[in-house]
């Protein structure tokens, strides 16, 4: 008997290569961001990089603007995506089953190519590249990420609750605000996280959609990281972004594991 349990317990060692891998390529690199943020180019400790950020008006305004754009994009995606997810998940509307798949399909196509195609479309119809184009492009890229988790939670929702509410005399609006909406909140949270996080950290897209006129925080980080003598300052900006990401993912941590594992 003892031997059996020995073998069973020894199987947890199978994860060790992966744990080692995670420590080396996930934990250590993240620590390195902090390390570079607090050192000078020749490796001495400093807080100068942080002070520079707080007096660097371009960085601050870019940061505020990026968060603003990300929030705006998240709100737009939510307003457009929730009704779509609701219609698809609600059996009363008899939506064809392919519809959900069609909404997810664009996620599998290279987002840069989609962005370039959007730019070409704007050129074709004579739409000026700028803030409007940026918002459209971002919404276009991330809308499926909002629809999918909300659709998932709505579909898994217990329909009998809705019926019970109806039987007890609630009208359609009441059923929605008192039953459906609260029950779908986990999906909404994870949708918000899945849209907000990539938007706030996006680079490249903004550059293409605005003719390089509007700079987002991601592009700023990219600029500093790729110029080697400003690498430490770039690390500070990354660290700030990381803090934002941490706060957002904490906010969204109430959601279950339903959103990412089963994309196929």
């Amino acid at each position: 008997m003892k031997k059996l349990s020995d073998i069973a317990s020894s199987r947890h060692t199978w994860a060790w290569p992966y744990i080692l891998f995670l420590v080396l390529f996930v934990v250590l690199p993240l620590v390195l961001i902090a390390f570079y943020a607090f050192t000078t180019a020749d490796g001495r400790f400093t807080v100068q990089n942080f002070l520079k950020f707080f007096t660097h008006s371009e960085a601050i305004s870019t940061f505020v603007y990026s968060v603003f754009i990300a929030v705006l994009n998240t709100v737009i995606c939510l307003l457009l995506g929730y009704p779509a997810a609701y219609i698809m998940a609600n059996e009363d509307y008899r939506t064809p089953k392919v519809m959900a798949m069609l909404f997810i399909l664009p996620m599998w196509i290279n987002f840069l190519l989609r962005t370039v195609a959007t730019v070409e479309l704007f050129n074709m119809i004579g739409f000026k590249l700028g803030e409007g184009a940026l918002l459209f492009g971002l919404c276009y890229d991330y809308l499926p990420f909002m629809i999918y988790p909300i659709y998932n939670t709505l579909q898994k929702m217990d329909r009998s609750l809705v019926e019970a509410a109806g039987d007890l005399g609630a009208n359609r609006a009441k059923v929605f605000t008192k039953v459906i909406l609260p029950l779908s909140m986990p999906g909404v949270y994870s949708g918000i996280v899945m849209v907000f996080m990539p938007t706030v950290s996006t680079f490249a897209i903004a550059e293409l959609l605005t003719h390089n006129n509007i700079k987002l925080f991601g592009s700023l980080i990219q600029d500093y990281i790729t110029t080697s003598d400003l690498l430490n300052y770039g690390a500070v900006l990354s660290l700030i972004l990381l803090v934002i990401i941490g706060i957002t993912s904490f906010f969204g941590s109430t959601e279950d594991d339903s959103q990412k594992g089963g994309l196929i």
Binding site: H12, A15, L22, M88, W108, V116, N123
Partner: protein, 449 residues
Amino acid sequence: MRRLFTLLLLAAGMMAAAQSNVQYELRVMAEQPLQILDTFPQPYQTEKINVTYQDGTYQLLGDTLAQGADFVVAAEAQAEWRAEFDSIFAFEAEGKHFVVWQNNRDIKNAQKRARAGNARTAFLTYLREQTVAPSRMWEYIGMGAAALVILLVVLYAVMLLRRKQAEKSMTSVQRETLHRKIADRRRRLFSQTYLWLLLLVLYMPILLILVYSFTESKVLGNWTGFSFQLYGNLFLGKGGEALNSAIINTVLIALIAALSATVLGTLAAIGIFNMRAKQRKVVTFLNSVPMINPDIITGISLFLLFVALHVSQGFWTVCIAHIVFCTPYVVLSVLPRLSGMNPNTYEAALDLGATPFQALRKVLVPELWPGMLSGFVLALTLSVDDFGVTFFTKGSGGLETLSTFIYADARKGGLTPELRPLFSLILILILTVLVFVNIRADKKAQKKA
């Protein structure tokens, strides 16, 4: 779906017929006062000077260093123009002399030269083939839409009249059920229209690529007749050396990353499953970190690691980076299979004399296979799709994957035409796989029921 495709082909045919003479249009936008700027000036469309030429009638003046030019233009030129002219050329239009720098990044240089030559600076947004057809096309679309709206209104009025007539001979109960039915139908119509409109907007750019993969034109948006030329170019490798190597790199990296991630992730999932609750919590949290981290953070952190370790970045650093963000998804696809299987079969195999490796191969892998496969496919697509992480870990040795190739291409102002058929093919492949998977899932669900 088939009907939609026929419609698209019809529309494409109409556009080709409508377009008889191709013109070159030079749109010079926004004359700016002379000053050195880091980026494009903010409201860059203040004035338009339209200079339209018939094909080939523009007058080339050669490289003049802006001496005597009225305008110096920083232009974003399409690839074929770049090949046709030098990076600097000049032309004359409406009695004005223009000098063009075909690189929109080179504004400072253009302005320096403009100042030296006492000229003004202008920005030419596009120097490209432009057909006359699109404007007509929008006219037709507008007219068609108007006709459709009128038709719908007439139909609705007729329907309303007929219903009023029918209602006269009904009891009040009948009338009520009818009204409820109508309200339901109206709600359904409204919601389905919303979904289809949203889908149409989402798919517009993708359809654009799909449609224009069947024409030879080097520029997206210019239909020069139906042709399979680009598909031929793609398969014969005529899309250019850079594109070919980008495709090969993408495939190789995706295969290496997905395979390693599947092996590493499956073993890790088995390990995590057999851990005690506390340990398991820690490792699952670690596992979720690469999924939560945005591309840019994963990319930068690995970039810093490779810099700190003095590893020269290239093919293998990109592979490692891809394994980093792919493996968590494999772990998450395998874990549910583990909790669904009989925990005693592995031990039974050992008791019957199998070595742990044999037990893994003969007992565990067959059970976990579906999870491993979906993890593998997910890893494959994630790797092919990735841009952010690749961008920071590819080093400066000239390694390009498809994503970074597209980025570099788009920055230059054009898109290699052969990318269009390539992505149309990928789209069709993904569509087929998704349909196949969904049908299989449906069948399974039916069997269960």
